[in-house]
């Protein structure tokens, strides 16, 4: 069974009636002529953190709007514990949403912002104070309550926004690109902290991002989206190891795609590419024999001839990226790129190098239909 058909099967299993947690089934949403959501289905189990990953404009924010009740879908259903939420107003859903720009109330101080949701649900003043203190502690900003929100730094505002959405203990917390507005260093630190905070408070959460690193770091499962459709659902490692389509592979940072043809013979299955003919295991085979696209995984290539399959190329350029370096190689008119630790002895530009790989690990075949 290929990964792709596994996704299909997974999607067809979804049925509102029997699930705990959130179920989104067959949601369609259009803006004028533009289709924003084209039959989206997925689930979030209670206590699970699911990342919705996709390029900008793929419909992620619209999806959050539909789940939150801010947007009305044309077709399809959003259910919680099996009960449909269609027609339920946003403030009655018991969901939280942390906006990308935080949307802190500028006329209220930190305490009032964090307490807002508690006030709406009728907390007593004492309980409210205790809960606010608790969540401020949780996000690592105790002793902040009387600060003016307009004077907060980006990182502080982000934490206060998180505290505000956590305070009323929503059944489901949605985070829309929560780290999008922060600089890189801060983002990497908060990425890990955020995952920990969510896990420690056993918060069911949907985490929307366009950054695969963030999704990998935070999520239990990832829903990969493009152009209003779900492409693949799976745990981060599974997704990375077995991208279900050329798009998924490219989006996850794997760009070496070779044109190929699958051949079957008495000795077994082979794949013919511009770099040579390589053996395929039964697991790797995709669909019928004939034309296909082959992914050469950049992380499974050796800069020597130790692997079972070898090819030669000319080094074009080396781009230093800190711990790793990216090596651009031209081989048989193909532009390929690979990553090696910068600590290795790297070839110089214009040098001819021999590269090798184990086909079982390095090759993934996509039939033409899964472009």
């Amino acid at each position: 069974m290929t990964v792709h058909s596994a996704v299909e099967e997974h999607l067809s299993e979804i049925d509102c009636m029997e699930c705990k947690g959130l179920t989104v089934s067959q949601v369609y949403k259009r803006f004028g002529e533009q289709v924003a959501l084209d039959g989206i289905s997925f689930q979030v189990a209670s206590g699970e953190i699911v990342a919705v990953l996709g390029p900008s404009g793929c419909g992620k924010s619209t999806l959050l709007g539909v789940i939150a009740g801010l947007e009305k879908p044309e077709r399809g259903e959003v259910c919680w514990d099996g009960a449909s939420l269609n027609g339920v107003a946003p403030h009655r859903r018991g969901f939280g949403l942390m906006f990308q720009d935080y949307a802190l109330f500028p006329h209220q101080d930190v305490y009032e912002n964090v307490a807002f949701g508690l006030r709406m649900t009728g907390y007593s003043t004492e309980n409210m104070r205790a809960r606010v203190e608790q969540v401020l502690e949780l996000v690592g900003l105790p002793g902040f309550p009387r600060r003016d929100v307009n004077t907060l730094s980006g990182g502080e505002a982000q934490r206060i926004a998180l505290a505000r959405s956590l305070a009323p203990a929503p059944r489901l917390l949605m985070l829309d690109e929560p780290l999008g507005a922060l600089d890189r260093a801060l983002r990497e630190r908060l990425m890990l902290e955020l995952g920990e905070i969510l896990r420690n408070s056993r918060q069911t959460a949907i985490y929307v991002t366009h950054d695969q690193e963030e999704a990998f770091a935070v999520a239990d499962r990832i829903v990969l989206m493009n152009a209003g459709r779900v492409l693949q659902v799976g745990a981060p490692a599974e997704l990375y190891r077995h991208p279900a389509s050329v798009f998924a592979a490219r989006f996850l940072g794997m760009s070496n795609m070779l044109p190929g043809r699958q051949l079957s013979s008495a000795q077994g299955d082979f794949i013919e590419t511009p770099l040579g003919v390589f053996p395929l295991s039964a697991r790797q085979k995709a669909g019928q024999s004939g034309s296909c696209t082959v992914l050469l995984r950049p992380d499974a290539i050796m800069l020597n001839s130790a692997g079972a399959c070898q090819f030669q190329g000319i080094v074009q350029r080396i781009s230093f990226r800190g711990g790793n370096s990216r090596v651009f190689v031209e081989a048989n008119d193909l532009q390929l790129e690979f990553e090696f630790p910068s600590s290795m002895v790297l070839p110089a530009p214009q040098q001819i190098v021999t590269l090798s790989f184990e086909p079982e690990q390095a090759l993934q075949v996509f039939d033409v239909s899964s472009q």
């Binding site: 859903r93 939280g96 949403l97 949307a103 109330f105 807002f116 949701g117 709406m120 959405s165």
Partner: protein
């Protein structure tokens, strides 16, 4: 710019689902009251005026038009009205632009106070302004009295009142603050890096101004100039009192035709001509602005302003500001002091006696008149009308502003916005005339209703209220409301905890605007006020038009009282002005 047809089409596209009762129906509910109000008290009276001008008299529809065309003096009035408005606008720009630059680009100590002081002159009732210039430069004003004293003259040497110059100066006095605010505000938030980029590319200061800064400022300058022009074009109180019979504007002529000559059809024709002119201007303005406006990223004031460095610049800046504040405050100082002095012309010279008698006299019914209305009663009457106007204008303006800022309905709002602003471009006398011809029979017989004047004032105040509220409402990001809803707030709670606190100041500012406008309104009031319920400006006009030093003194005293009430309102506005861009 999109064509009208395309706009209407997009509106139709929006209207259709509303009529089917979709979720936009709440949007149309918001429009119900404001549009009903405008329909009943603006468009209906205007239609009635049109009907009157076309349909009355035995000589048929065209008679009043023929009368207009055949009367060269009326042509001259139209020409003069345009000419004086253009000249006044040019002078106001000349005088105001340096100030806009200073206030925009430099961090001046007392900046808010300066702005507040210029703002006071804008909201002062026209009659008070006229009285103030009279007190300073009139035949019995300070300057003439001093000159007479110094050079032992029998006649006032300076002729200011009833000259063309008086109208121009008063218009500059009135409208400079519009240039300072509209252009200055825009300039203060203009990214200084654009100018710096030009300098780095080799432009000198003058080239930078001409090629970069002025083109970028053009939309602000054009819209400020247009506002000024409209105010000058429809000038009434200033022209009536300071211009005198030789310098009547259209507005004054409409008043004369209505009140003195009872020639309603001709007055109606003149009103239509005036309305046509302002409408043409507004259309031209929208066209021009659409062509001039560029998307700009605005910067907070703290980023664009510098300290004023160098004694030469300091000297230049402060002497300009001294001239500005001199023009704007001297007449008022003259008014206040003149209302406290009794003047005696003696053969040996002039004697000044400090006195409170003009104020005391306000409470005395000297001639035991039967239908006497105490001037102080008119203060109470004015306050009552003003408070009613505030309530009406807010109740009507808030939903209109709310609907205008609804982003989902931007297409329909584009059509409604100019409609709401129309009363701003319509002369107050025309509005009053419309009330007289339209609201005189059941079920809309409001001639005796105490609501008649507040309704007229609300019409004048309405555009200001909407204009004050929309920036505050549209500065509330929809995200904030959504965030509140997702934290469990129902729509009422969202309004109570998010919208209301955020527009609180703007509401207050709008209320004060309505209040001061109602206090000072004279054009419409002069036509519709009942003699037994005079407002303060009406009372002032009565005293001004009566001869004698005592009546003159009482007019001054009442003017001082009126200007103090409006000034207090204006200072309150400055205090609660909406926060700077970027401070939210």
């Amino acid at each position: 710019m999109r064509s009208l047809a395309a706009r209407l089409k997009s509106v139709a596209k929006h209207v259709a689902p509303m009529l089917r009762g979709d979720k936009g129906s709440r949007y149309w509910l918001l429009w119900a009251a404001p549009l009903a109000f405008l329909g009943l008290f603006y468009f209906y009276p205007l239609l009635k005026i049109t009907a009157v001008s076309f349909g009355r008299g035995q000589s048929g529809v065209v008679a009043p038009f023929v009368e207009f065309l055949a009367t060269p003096s009326l042509w001259k009035i139209l020409g003069f009205t345009i000419w004086q408005a253009a000249l006044s606008t040019g002078l106001t720009l000349l005088f105001g632009l340096p100030g806009a630059y200073l206030l925009a680009r430099y961090h001046l100590p007392g900046r808010n106070l300066i702005l507040a002081m210029t703002g006071v002159s804008f909201v002062l009732p026209t009659l008070v302004v006229a009285a103030a210039f009279n007190a300073l430069l009139g035949p019995r004003g300070w300057v003439n009295l001093l000159l007479m004293q110094l050079f032992s003259l029998n006649q006032p040497p300076l002729h200011f009142v009833n000259t063309f110059g008086a109208i121009l100066v008063a218009h500059v006095f009135y409208n400079t603050t519009i240039i300072l605010r509209v252009v200055g505000d825009f300039w203060a938030h203009l990214d200084p890096r654009l100018g710096q980029a030009a300098r780095v590319l080799g432009a000198n200061g003058w080239q930078t101004l001409r090629r970069v800064t002025l083109p970028l400022l053009a939309p602000a300058i054009v819209s400020a100039a247009l506002l000024v022009f409209i105010f000058d074009f429809t000038s009434f109180g200033v022209a009536l009192v300071l211009g005198g019979p030789r310098f009547a504007t259209l507005e004054v002529e409409i008043y004369n035709q209505t009140v003195s000559l009872f020639n309603l059809p001709l007055a109606a024709v003149l009103s239509l001509i005036q309305l046509g002119c302002t409408l043409t201007l507004m259309v031209m303005y929208t066209r021009l602005n659409a062509r001039l406006a560029r998307p700009l990223s605005l910067r907070p004031r703290a980023y664009t302003q510098h300290r004023l460095i160098g004694w030469r610049r300091q000297l230049l800046a402060w002497s300009y500001l001294a001239a500005l504040l001199g023009l704007l405050t001297l007449p008022l100082v003259g008014l206040a002091t003149r209302s406290l002095a009794r003047i005696e012309l003696l053969p040996t010279g002039i004697a000044f006696h400090p006195t409170l008698e003009y104020y005391r006299e306000l409470t005395v019914n000297r001639f035991n008149a039967l239908f006497y209305v105490s001037p102080l009663t008119s203060v109470a009457i004015s306050l009552g009308y003003a408070l009613t106007t505030v309530a009406l204008a807010l109740v009507l303006g808030l939903p209109a502003a709310w609907a205008l800022t609804n982003r989902r309905q931007a297409a329909s709002s584009q059509v409604f916005e100019p409609l709401l602003m129309l009363p701003l471009g319509t002369s107050a006398v025309t509005l009053g005339l419309g009330f007289i011809v339209a609201l005189d029979r059941p079920p809309l017989d409001l001639r005796a209703s105490p609501l008649l004047i507040p309704l007229a004032h609300t019409l004048v105040a309405f555009p200001f209220v909407v204009r004050s509220l929309t920036p505050a409402l549209s500065s509330i990001k929809p995200r904030l409301r959504q965030a509140a809803a997702l934290l469990g707030a129902n729509p009422a709670q969202v309004f109570r905890f998010i919208d209301l606190p955020l527009i609180g100041r703007a509401l207050f500012v709008a209320a004060i605007f309505a209040f001061t406008i109602s206090l000072g309104e004279f054009g419409a009031t002069a036509l519709v006020a009942r003699p037994e319920y005079p407002t303060l400006p009406v009372m002032i006009y009565r005293f001004i038009s009566q001869p004698g030093a005592m009546n003159y003194g009482k007019a001054l005293a009442l003017s001082v009282i009126l200007s103090m009430i409006t000034a207090a309102g204006m200072l309150a506005i400055e205090r609660f002005r909406i926060a700077d861009i970027g401070e939210f």
